[in-house]
Each structure stands twice: as structure tokens, then as C-alpha cells.
């Protein structure tokens, strides 16, 4: 049985130059095939994580705390995967 779940997790931007184009593209790439919605919130704004153009409007410099939220099947895995990207500072494994 599939179950729609909502998962949330807080991450911190540890990139010196902030969340610029390349990390934004990694996020979009990561969530691309996820069936469901993924959004990233900062303060009162939120963007669609599947759209690199949307992500770029986040304006998230070094130290920004972001809230990731996913709604859909296996949302927890997705959120954790994204958090790992942030923890690795978007370096390839």
C-alpha cells in the first residue's frame, strides 16, 4: 500500500558563496523524478525545488537555515537525501 506522507527537515547552507547556480541545479536534479511536491522555505518565502529558476530566487547566503518539505510517497527518503547533499556541501560522493 502506498501512503502519501509529509516530511520536513531543517538544513543550513554551508557554502561560502551561498546557494548559487550549481548547488541549485543539484537540488533540482535530485528531486526531479520524485512523484509529489517538494518545496524549500526560508522565512516567509517558499520555492518549488523542482525548478532551478525558482530555487535561484531563494537568495540563500552562507548560514541561511532552510526548511525542506516534501509531500508524496517516500517523502522521508527524499528529504533525507537532500539533507545529505547539504551536509556534503554538494560535493560528489
Amino acid at each position: 500500500m502506498t501512503s502519501e506522507t509529509t516530511s520536513q527537515r531543517e538544513v543550513t547552507v554551508n557554502l561560502e558563496n551561498g546557494l548559487h547556480m550549481v548547488p541549485c541545479s543539484r537540488i533540482a536534479e535530485h528531486v526531479r523524478d520524485f512523484v509529489g511536491e517538494v518545496s524549500i522555505h526560508v522565512e516567509d518565502r517558499s520555492v518549488d525545488a523542482k525548478s532551478i529558476f525558482d530555487l535561484l530566487t531563494l537568495r540563500a547566503p552562507f548560514g541561511t537555515v532552510l526548511m525542506i518539505e516534501a509531500v508524496g510517497k517516500d517523502s522521508e527518503d527524499l528529504v533525507n537525501g537532500l539533507a545529505t547533499l547539504f551536509e556534503r556541501n554538494f560535493e560528489p560522493e
Partner: protein, 582 residues
Amino acid sequence: MHTKHGIAVSPGVAIGPAFVLGVEDFRIPHRYVSLDAVDAEIVRFRCAIENVCREISDNEKLASEQLGTQYGAIFAAHLQMARDPKLLGEVEALIRDNHYSPEFALSRVLGQYAKVLQNLGEMYKADRAIDLYDLEKRLLRQLLGERREELSHLTAPVIVLARDLTPSETATLPRQYVLGFATEVGGYTSHTAILAGALGIPAIVAVGDLVTDVSGGETVILDGVDGRIIVDPDEDTIAEYRQSEERARSVAQRLVSQRSLKSETADNTRVWLMGNIEFPEEAEHCKELGADGIGLYRTEFLYLESSREQTEEEHFEAYRNVVNSFPDQPVVIRTLDLGADKVPSQMPSLYPEGANPELGLRSIRLSLTDLERFKTQLRAILRVAQLGDVRIMFPLISSLLELRQAKSTLNDVMEDLEDKGVPFNSDVQVGMMVEVPSVPLLAEDFAREVDFFSIGTNDLIQYTLAVDRSNPAVAKYYNSADPAILRMIRMVVEAGEKHDVPVTVCGQMSSDPKYAPLLVGLGIRQLSATPYVIPQLKEVIRNLTIPQAESIAAHALKIELARDVETYLRGELNKLCPDLAK
């Protein structure tokens, strides 16, 4: 059968199937599509996206392997942009709901994104916008550009219809297959037009809507004499044109057969007829047509043709080819006249896009800014000047200071060559183009400092009448016969006579036979023209006497309106040489 009108820029008639070229330069051909086409246009858009994604992936792989993964990552980001669901959704919505063409929808959406990103401040500065521009270019190239390559795949004679052709595209048209061409934009004096004349390909420009109305394959008649294009002509019209084609050919043959005759008036005054050329290969053609030398060698095509900087040796070789065709006759080499509508691909950084490029950093101003490039050319000219009657001409001089700076650079180069012991000609004649209205006004001052003047009517008219010659909306205000222009020519001739400085006219005006009697009457004794009109000009001159020419000029100077001057001159040409009058 329907007829469209444009500006005739290269005479001749061609009949053949239409060949419609895609749009280059990413100008958007049509902003809207018809309702029934919406689905097909969306499919076309998706195909373009797919192709672009493939292209970007290839680049990513290449960049990662050859430059490192951090460079590959840039293309990975581009790939995510091309696949961005929001972008695709918005573009498709504009196509579906507003019936925008994919090209128009795409540049609208990406334009908005670029603006948003630019307003985000420091963090994303302008570089993001460049990435978007790159993506836009890729997509537009997919949507519009690929058809363009078909030009090199032609296997049968056609008439090319295009929104526009660049000068280098025109220069490389496969002549055996291109019977003629028509473009939607362009003007009488655009470089594409000049090249068409040089290549002898019948052409008309500024036709207006063309590529959207003709699908390709229809029979068209291209009338490069009257500036007409007839789509799907009926049998009678074709027969009529075939006949006049035949007549034109026999006149042309008769004229060419007179090439060994001297260019002098019926009362034995010599009027030198020289050729305007862009490519060294044209010099030989000028000689075959009976030219008395090269009055204007436009060297900028050396730069526009190649994707890299030309060396001194390459300049030297090109110039030597021209001098070899005319070892005993004048060869006037104009130094680089780049900028405005002529920007070579290898040096775009030098051309900040001012709002008003014709008034910006172009021509001699550019040479004086970039002295190294200028000196390279001057060295080559000075060296080749040992081999013949080579003369140097500076373009677009607007003040005495500029002229003196150019001449002092030339002196520096001479000293340098002397120090190095390189052989050159130190007695080379130095002249200038008269293209800016300040020069006729101060002609006497300039005359004291040059060996010759050459009036470039194209720019002189543009700057005097304040008309952008390539803008169809105002092109009608551009007129060689304007009384202001005639008086300026007169002023230059008078100053020249006083200081013993010969004056040539080398613009498009001298390539129109109806102006020849007027120019001779104004005192001009040297004309430099598009090669193919040289035989016609010679015919006019040989039928003319000096008193006749002077009375034509005196009458023309009294007429108040440009169009009346034109009508009068056309009538006079008809009396002198009915064969040549249109």
C-alpha cells in the same frame, strides 16, 4: 500571381524556384501562430528542448573530461534550466493560450527570469543572466537556425528568400545555384547589397513580409532592375521577362566589348573610372571590365571573413594580389572601417553596444583607440606600396585633430620600418574619406593636409540627412539627390581645385549611371564604383560633353527637392543613353 516591391540593389532578372531561408541572428520572425498550429508548435518546442538537452549533456561530458568536473557542473546546471518544469510550463501556456510562437514565448519567459535574477542583488549579479542568454541562444538556434545550413547543400538553381543575409553569408553564396536573392530588411547601401552588386547576383532588399508568405518551391521572378518580386507568375509574365532578360544580356555584351576604349567624354576630357572592391579576387574582375584602377579597397572584409586576427603578412598578401592586377594604376587602400554594422566575430569585446553605434566607436576612431591593430595594417600597406601606385585613405575623418593623429601614427610606423631596415614606400599618397558633414564645411582646411579626397556618399548622406540607411521605416528619407548633398560635393570640389587636391566620388551614388553627368558637371574627374557598372558609366561618359555635363549640374543645383532632382537626372540619362535608363 502576386507582386511584392523592394529596393533594387543589384540589377538583373532571375526566374526560378523560391528557396526560403530560416532566420539568423535569433531575431524572431513571427510572434504569433495560428490557432490550428498551436499543437504542432508545442511539439516543435519540445523537440527543440530535447535536442538542446542532448547538446548540453554532450558539452557537460566534454567539459568534465577535458577541464574538470567543476566546469562540467556548469553545464549540468544549464541542463536543469533547460528541463525546468516551470519554464516549460510557462512557455507552453503562452503558446497555447496566447498563440505566441515558441521563439517569442521563450524569449519572453527567459527575459522575465533574467530580470528577476538581476534584481536579486550581489549574489547573483549579471552572470546568471549570461547563462540564461546562452540557453536562449541554444534554443532559438534549434528553433530557427538549423535550416540555414541548407544553403551549402543546394544542388539546383534557386532564388533565395530570407529575412536578412549577413555580408559574409552573401559573400559565400554558392553562385552556381543562387540565381538571385531577396531579403525582408536591408537598404540600398547595406553591405549585403554592395556585395550582391559586386558578385553580380540580382538582388532586392527591404521587401517586407516575405519568408512568411512564401513557403518555398513556388516559381518566382526576381526583378533586380525595378525592385520587384513576382510569386507564381503567369505564362505571359514569364515570357515577357525572358524577353527583357535577353535584351539586357545583349546590352551588357555590347558594353563589355568596349572595355578597351578610354573613359573620356565626347570632347576628350579624361574621367577616371575605378572599382570599389572588398575582396582581392575582385581586382581581376575590375580589370576585365576596363577599370582604371581601384578607387576604394575596403579592407575590413579581411577581418570579417576570418575568425581570428589577421597578421601583417596576411594583409600584405591580400594587398599584393590587388596591386598585381593593377601594377601601374592607382590602388586606394582604405584603412579599417569597422564598427557600427560591421563587427568581426573575433573582437566583439571592442564594441560596447552604444545606443547609437553609427555615432559611436567606429572606423578611424576605433583604429586610433587600438593602435596596435592599426599599425599592423599600416605596415602592410607601406610595404606593398613599393610594388605599385598604392595610396592610403583614412575613413570617417571628422576633425583635423583626428586626421593629424592618423597621419602621425603613419609617421611612427614609417620610422619604425626605417629603424628595422624594412623596405617600404615613404612617398605614399595619403588621403581621406569625406563622409562627415564637418569635412565639406572645413574642406579648405583639410585640403591643405591631404593628397586627395574621396567622397563616401553613403555615410555623408546618412550623417547629413540623419537617416539610418538600414531602417526601412526611414529609408525613404535617404536620397543621394538631396540638394544638401549636391552642394557639399560642390564645396569639396571647389576646395580641391583651389589646393590642387583631386576629388573622387566612391559611394553608392557614383555607381548609379544617372548621377554620372551631374558629378562630371560638378567637376568630379574620378569615379569609383561597383565593378559591374563600370561599363555603363563609361558609356555615359563617352556620350557626354563637358558643357553638357556642366549645364546638367547647374540645372540640378537649382532644383529644390531631391525627388525632382532624381526625375530630372533620369530624364537626362534617357536622352544620353536610352539603353541604360530604367
